[in-house]
Subunit: 159 residues, 2 copies
DNA sequence: TTTTCATGTAACTCAAAATATTACATGATG
DNA sequence: CATCATGTAATATTTTGAGTTACATGAAAA
């Protein structure tokens, strides 16, 4: 199966948008994903309807965040995307006559339902500001690494 | 995404096989799924390698269970199938340079890893005998329902 | 020993779904 | 009113699970 990448993609995009602090066009945002602006618009359409972002047409238009990152959960974004399928596993028949198949599906259903509950609960517990904070940590770490390599191995650099 | 139905399918098949108590051909088993015998062989190949079933070629050959149902967990079957993908969600890039994308992926990774852990734990806790017992319950219930409808509404039957 | 039946597997086709692209409509700004 | 930007439908591409065909291998029956 081809995986659905919308959630990871749009999170990446809107965190850049939030970082940027002013309207950005679909075309600019598309560069982050190396994709077509229409793909951005399609995903953002859901977020707009959910009130997470705002779009403005015409000159100087584009996308802006409608809420602070701390007020948006992973769950909000996931739902705004139309709650795409989480699991790659399915059943051959949804309502089988065969009692054996019914028993099999019931057993799998219970396992997957439990996992889904937990997953959505986690989505609900994570805000975009948490991810932004993690990004900030990584950025600090990255800067330290750069400084360190500059201090200890400057001779590897070309002049 | 097109779902992977191998787990549900093969469980259905081997529970019928266990029920039957003697060798069954791929062709016969394929009837339960309304599919091609080769599809059965392909899935059963994994179970054979894992020692869950035995295959015999030639006249009077076919498939038989190699272990009692109580000695086989959902996890065993899932692994024998080659541990097909559980989640339909993925990332655009597996090892992104962008620190924002890294933070996004780390966050999603953690959520999905936790859900996967729980799911596999559940798979491990369920034996095929549990599913067979549920089937038996459903069968008893089904028979009662038939009796009941025969007793209360015999006039609806044709002579 | 030869025929028949059954699995084993590679190669190819088919179908469904996510993503990408094209085309054009709508609306806002300069 | 020309340009820029979103909105969205229609179509093409890509990926992957499942189905099909073809043929090899091996065992039992005739």
């Amino acid at each position: 199966m081809k995986t659905d990448n919308k959630l990871s993609s749009i999170l990446h995009v809107i965190l850049h948008l939030a970082e940027h602090n002013q309207a950005m066009t679909s075309e600019t945002l598309a560069l982050y994903l190396k994709t077509n602006p229409v793909v951005i618009r399609r995903m953002m359409a859901g977020l707009r309807q959910a009130g997470l972002v705002v779009s403005v047409k015409g000159h100087g238009g584009g996308w802006t965040m409608a809420k602070p990152l701390a007020a948006i959960s992973l769950q909000d974004v996931y739902q705004a995307l139309g709650a795409p399928r989480l699991f790659a596993q399915g059943y051959r028949q949804d309502a089988p006559q065969c009692l054996i198949e019914q028993a099999v599906n019931a057993s799998l259903d219970s396992a997957f339902a439990e996992a889904e509950r937990q997953l959505l609960q986690k989505f609900n517990a994570v805000n975009l500001s948490d991810i932004a904070a993690d990004f900030e940590l990584r950025r600090q770490q990255h800067l330290l690494t750069l400084e360190h390599s500059a201090a200890t191995a400057p001779q590897t650099k070309e002049e």
